[in-house]
């Protein structure tokens, strides 16, 4: 940083909070003073200001423009954040989502006036069922973890309907943290399953833990090490033989779309992260959506609402009495993340069956390119090939004085969003890279050259330069510990 009089670094502007720019009396519009009126509030009318900042319109425009310029996202940089699937969000999806007939409708409109929207939900549901080979779907879950909640609630209901009590859920150690959290939220206890040296579920350990008190196994496939669980048929059969259900976490479905029908794997329920696999914005760019596909055994317990189609057209089933089934209830207001359905369906239809199949293939190809090109300088955690993401650990940094965190921070100075760090927990100092299918070979080659260069710099004893990183950002390395121990969650006016 070069010290400047203004605090700005060239045209990189040091932007205060909007509340700190408050200029009482300033306004974007010139409103007349409110006339004095006799209120009937009995002296309860607010005294003093309501706390909104007074700002002229150009100040507001500059404020939000400057904030947007500080943002880093998939639209500006390569973003290989493992497990998060930061692929390109095609602009065609956005264009369709903004069509007035889709954007300017309300969930409380009479159903006769929104037939097209209901058909869209039904069509999206149809293709998700077709791709997965599953007979039923709940469209309303609002994100991946919400889909887990939905799936586990249907499992709990199905077990209750059998007149049984099964309090335990088995979860591999490499699982996303949401898996045990969702199980606990649904009242289950969680029992971890260890991984093998191959980075996959230890089937013998799993079988030893199965029993009449196990409700389900939650398994991500491909798993969070980026590896396909190649014993999945045996795993599914063992879970079913013990009377349990097989929950597949579909967070990594993007690796197998068009290649694997999850129904053929023995899956009873799987959520699909539309915002990952089907390219809708996420990570602060928009809400997620977690439609959840269900087997015949769990279908009767699916939450409402559901869209059905008959000679009169499309309509919503919103009450258990209408459904003839045993729904777990409603898990979200309205009918799901409709705007995400529009984008996901636009993506599916513009890609086509061949395009979706090529996308998952290219995602796997790109990840294997990273794995192959980086294995000589970094330490790959498991023998390849991998699926859609490549996992490394910190053995290549041993005795260098550089940590995984330092390495990731150095990548920021090089103009890349870092990979996922310290997850999954089954390897030490994890670096998890997911390039996605939308990155070109040029981008990957530049990233590979940079990562190799940094690895060699670390080996050559340049730990100090890593400890200092990032140096080219508006803020240097943030104090995560203090931020977590004493968080400042909202702005407060300075004491007068």
């Amino acid at each position: 940083m070069i010290p400047t009089l203004s605090g700005n670094q060239g045209l990189q502007i040091e932007e205060p909070l909007i509340f700190e720019q408050d200029s009482p009396g300033a306004s974007g519009v010139d409103l007349p003073d409110a006339p004095a009126i006799d209120d009937r509030l009995g002296g309860l009318a607010r005294q003093g200001r309501i706390g909104l900042p007074g700002l002229a319109e150009p100040t507001v425009v500059r404020h939000y423009t400057r904030l947007s310029q500080k943002n880093v996202g998939i639209d500006s940089v390569f973003y290989p954040l493992g497990s998060c699937t930061m692929k390109h969000n095609p602009r065609l999806n956005e264009k369709l989502a903004r069509l007035p007939g889709l954007a300017d409708i309300h969930p409380f409109q009479p159903q006769g006036t929104v037939q097209g929207a209901l058909e869209l939900i039904d069509t999206c549901a149809h293709w998700l069922k077709t791709l997965t080979g599953m007979p039923a779907i709940a469209m309303s879950p609002a994100a991946g973890a919400h889909g887990e909640f939905c799936g586990l609630m249907t499992i709990r209901a199905a077990i209750g309907a059998r007149g049984e009590t099964r309090p335990r859920i088995l979860v591999p150690e490499s699982a996303h943290g949401t898996n045990p959290a969702s199980a606990a939220a649904c009242g289950f206890s969680v029992d971890p399953i260890p991984a093998t040296a191959r980075g996959r579920v230890d089937v013998a350990a799993l079988k030893a833990k199965l029993g009449p008190d196990v409700a389900a196994l939650m398994l991500t496939n491909p798993n969070t090490c980026g590896l396909f669980e190649d014993e999945i048929l045996e795993i599914a059969a063992a879970v079913h033989d013990a009377g349990g259900y097989f929950y597949c976490d579909g967070a990594n479905y993007n690796a197998i779309v068009g290649r694997v029908r999850v129904a053929d794997l023995g899956v009873d329920v799987m959520h699909i992260n539309l915002h990952k696999t089907f390219s809708t914005p996420h990570g602060g760019g928009g809400p997620g959506a977690g439609p959840t596909v269900l087997s015949q055994a769990l279908a009767p317990f699916a939450p409402l609402p559901a869209v059905v189609h008959d000679a009169q057209g499309f309509r919503l089933i919103e009450h258990a009495a209408q459904s003839g089934a045993m729904p777990v209830g409603r898990i979200k207001g309205y009918h799901g993340q409709f705007g995400v359905f529009v984008r996901a369906l636009a993506y599916m239809m513009s890609m086509g069956a061949d395009g979706l199949r090529q996308a998952s293939s290219d995602a796997v190809l790109n990840a294997n390119y990273l794995l192959a090109e980086l294995s000589s300088d970094l330490s790959a955690s498991f023998e390849g090939p991998c699926m859609h993401e490549a996992l490394f650990d910190d053995r290549f940094l041993k005795d260098s004085g550089v940590s995984t965190l330092d390495f990731a921070k150095a990548l920021i100075d090089e103009g890349f969003h870092p990979m996922t760090m310290y997850f999954p927990l089954v390897v030490h100092g994890a670096l998890l890279m997911e390039p996605t299918e939308t990155e070109s070979k040029d981008t990957l080659d530049r990233f590979i050259a940079t990562v190799r260069g940094l690895a060699r710099r670390a080996r050559d004893g340049a730990a100090e330069s890593f400890k200092a990183a990032p140096v080219l950002t508006p803020r240097r390395r943030l104090d995560e510990t203090t931020a977590a121990r004493t968080p400042v969650l909202r702005w407060k006016p300075p004491a007068a």
Binding site: G177, M421, Y422, F423, L425, E480, T481, A484, R485
Partner: protein, 125 residues
């Protein structure tokens, strides 16, 4: 004079007069990084050997703490909950987590002494 024992999950327990003080080892705090949150058990809670009894959360990960032996919780270290950094600074003294009354002192025989634990940690690296 108390005797100290260690587990493979990186807890220590210092036993004297039928009670044990439990914490996480220096190796554990080092592997976790700066701790930012600690969840301690309720007083009077009974726990089996190896049962989940507390949670420690760092900037990197949240981890369960497993009770080295079974027993009943008779005290917790509120200072560690208020200032999790204490566990990073003094994991094997002032950064203890809870004290329990042992239900079965024979369980201690399955734990490691200092030398065995140090060798165990050496083997992990």
């Amino acid at each position: 004079m108390s005797s100290i024992y260690f587990t493979k999950d990186h807890e220590w327990i210092a036993v004297a007069n039928g009670e044990g003080v439990v914490g996480i080892t220096d190796h554990a705090q080092h592997a976790l990084g700066d701790l930012v949150f600690v969840e301690l058990p309720e007083l009077g809670r009974r726990v089996a050997q190896g049962g989940e009894i507390a949670v420690v959360e760092s900037v990197k990960a949240a981890s369960d703490v497993y009770s080295p032996v079974s027993g009943e919780v008779v005290a917790v270290n509120q200072a560690a909950a208020d200032q999790p950094g204490l566990i990073n600074e003094q994991p094997e003294s002032d950064g203890w987590l809870y004290r329990l009354r042992l239900a079965n002192a024979a369980e201690l025989e399955g734990l490691m002494d200092r030398a065995a634990y140090d060798a165990f940690v050496q083997g992990l690296e």
